[in-house]
Structure formats: C-alpha cells, structure tokens
C-alpha cells in the first residue's frame, strides 16, 4: 500500500482505540522502520533492536486507549522507544561488541557518500566495512542520551524542536547535547585515524 493512500494517523489511532487491529498494523508499517533505525543505532545490536521494536509496539498498543492526541503519533511512539531503549541500555550496561550488519548497497549511489569519499577527507582511505565499524565504535563511546540525540538529528533528520518534544527537554539542551556529542565523535575519529 502506498503511503499517500493510507489514512492519516489520527484516523488510524481512533480506529485502533475502537478495537480495529488492522489500523494498528498500518501504523506498524508506517513507523516500524523509523523506530527500528532509532533503536538499532542506540543499541548497536540487531537482536536487541528486534526485541525492543516488538516491545515498543506492544506497549504502544496497550497504552493507545490513553493517547489523547496532544502530540502526533510519531512523536508519541518515538518517546516510548527512546525511554524504553535508554532503560534497556542502562540495565544491559556498556557492551562494546557489536553486530555489524552489511551496509545497504544503495549507499554507493548516495550523493553524500560519493561526496565524502571523492574529496580529500580522512574517510577516503578507508573501506566501507571499516568506516561502519569506526562509526559504530565512536557512537558507542557516547552516553545513551547523547546517542539518542545524534541518532534522531544526524541519522533520522528530525528537527531540534521535535527532538525536544520527544525527549521532554528544552530545545537548548538538545542543541548543547548535539554540540558535545559532535565534539566527542570528532575527537574519537581523529584518534582512530592517527593509529
């Protein structure tokens, strides 16, 4: 089903609240890839991301009767996902071993990737899998709160104001967390290059 032909989120939520499980399946189809990206980049583990994705949607389904529509469904489910993942990562502790999935072949055609590897940057010399590994390791050096902000802003492209809504923090805090996380990532990648 094409995204444009789908009913809007408000209608789907209302239908789910009245017991229409198919409406919730459509919400799943719309948002599970985005929630997966968020959870995967915060946990750096496919198995954990898989479990958390299912738990996030199960919690959303159980709590949907209490959803009043003050925020969008997208913001609401992202808030559930971020909170559950932060709790999960804190309980699990720091795990540096990561499951590295292969990059999608489409990355070769991505203009940003072409631009990055064509110009004179430290990235030019490294291959794809090494690049992925470096990035994941650098991300895992961040605290889970900083990782959440970097994932939403840099990877998912969510604006600052929306991230502030999702996390329930002021926009200035989002910006300062991003600034700090970027500095840390830059330092870590620089250290790695020197080795």
């Amino acid at each position: 089903m094409d995204d444009e032909n789908l009913p809007d989120d408000e209608t789907l939520v209302r239908r789910t609240q009245t017991g229409d499980t198919q409406a919730f399946d459509i919400l799943w189809q719309k948002y599970s890839p985005r929630v997966y990206v968020l959870v995967y980049n915060m946990t750096a583990d496919h198995e954990d991301a898989n479990d958390l994705l299912l738990e996030v949607f199960a919690k959303a389904y159980r709590s949907i009767s209490g959803f009043k529509g003050r925020s969008s469904f997208y913001t609401w489910i992202h808030a559930i996902a971020v909170n559950m993942t932060i709790n999960f990562v804190k309980k699990r502790g720091r795990r540096l071993q990561m499951s590295l999935d292969d990059l999608d072949a489409n990355v070769q055609n991505d203009p940003e990737f072409i631009d990055l590897t064509a110009t004179n940057t430290p990235i030019r010399e490294v291959d794809l899998s090494e690049l992925q590994q470096r990035l994941n390791e650098a991300m895992m050096k961040l605290s889970v709160e900083h990782r959440a902000v970097v994932t939403m802003f840099d990877i998912q492209g969510i604006p600052h104001a929306e991230i502030a809504n999702i996390l329930g923090i002021p926009e200035t805090t989002v910006r300062s967390r991003l600034f700090y996380a970027h500095r840390q990532l830059q330092n870590y990648l620089e250290e790695f290059r020197k080795k």
Binding site: W28, A58, S63, G66, F67, L116, Q132, I155, G157, L189
Partner: protein
C-alpha cells in the same frame, strides 16, 4: 586533518543505510501478532483492564486552572473558619452540654450540701432519678426464645444436651 561538522554529519547520515534484510518488518509484524495472542492468553481480563486503567491515569494531566481553584477553595474555607462564622468545636461543645443538662443540678446540690446529704430530709430525691441518668446494661448475649431449658443441680447439669441455637 580533523573532520569538520558537515563531514561528520554526512558520515553519520550513511548509517541510515544500515537496514535489516528485506522482508524483516513483515516477519517482525507476524512475530508481534504471535506475541499479542500469547499475551492475551497469559493475562487475565482483570490484568489487562488494570494495565489500561493505569496507563490512562498516568497519561491524565491535571488542568492548570485546577490548582488555582483548589487554592481559592482553601482560602475561602480558611476565611470562613477564621472569622468565627462557623466553628465546629463550639457546636460540638454545645451539643454535648445539652445532653448532660440534668447533671449540673444534681452536682450543685451535692456540692452545696456536701456531707449533710444523708441527714437532709428536704433533699429533692427526684433529682436522683436513676433510670433517667444511668444507662441500662443489657447482656450482649441473650438466650434465644426457642432454647431448651437446662437445669443445674449442685453445680452439675442435669442435661448435657446442647441447644445449638447460637
């Protein structure tokens, strides 16, 4: 050469290409349905209802005007009680004194006449109306009307037959 902000952001955006294998989300949806069915069978109807109510309570937000209204109500009650228009302790005191209205008369006579109480023949004995003043003591347990009579002779019951009429 250190990565600048733009290069770092471009590098991070490449991570969006880290995707699960094709068909993963459809498989995950099936797994989600399976877990939902399992959960329904595992949880009792009460547990499901309780969870829904709890999530409803947590999502409930007190409207901002409610705080103002509560404070206003508190102020009104404080002023009302403080001004003495309504004083619950005084009312209770008056109510209790009306119940024991007869007593001061009796005590007055006792106080004034003191030790000559026994010798004073003019004392108004109607003030010592015991039934009016004293409470009646009624046994809490009374034999039921259809209980069988039991006779005791020299401390030994003649009949051991239990009445079973408690």
């Amino acid at each position: 050469m250190m990565l600048d902000d733009q290069q770092l952001q471009k590098l991070l955006r490449i991570k969006r290409f880290e995707q699960p294998p094709p068909g993963y989300f459809n498989q995950a949806l099936k797994e989600f349905h399976r877990r939902q069915r399992e959960e329904l069978l595992r949880h009792s109807a009460f547990q499901i209802w309780f969870e829904r109510v709890a999530s409803g309570i947590w999502s409930f937000r007190v409207p901002s005007y409610a705080y103002g209204a509560a404070f206003g109500f508190f102020l009104v009650v404080t002023v009302f009680v403080g001004s003495g228009i309504w004083n619950p302790s005084q009312e209770q005191l008056q109510a209790s004194s009306s119940v024991t209205q007869a007593a001061p008369v009796l005590f007055e006579s006792l106080d004034t006449q003191g030790q000559s109480l026994a010798l004073n023949a003019n004392l108004d004995w109607s003030k010592f109306d015991r039934p009016a003043l004293s409470t009646q003591i009624v046994p809490a347990l009374q034999p039921s009307p259809d209980a069988l009579p039991r006779y005791i002779l020299d401390g030994r019951p003649l009949s051991y037959k239990a009445s079973f009429s408690f």
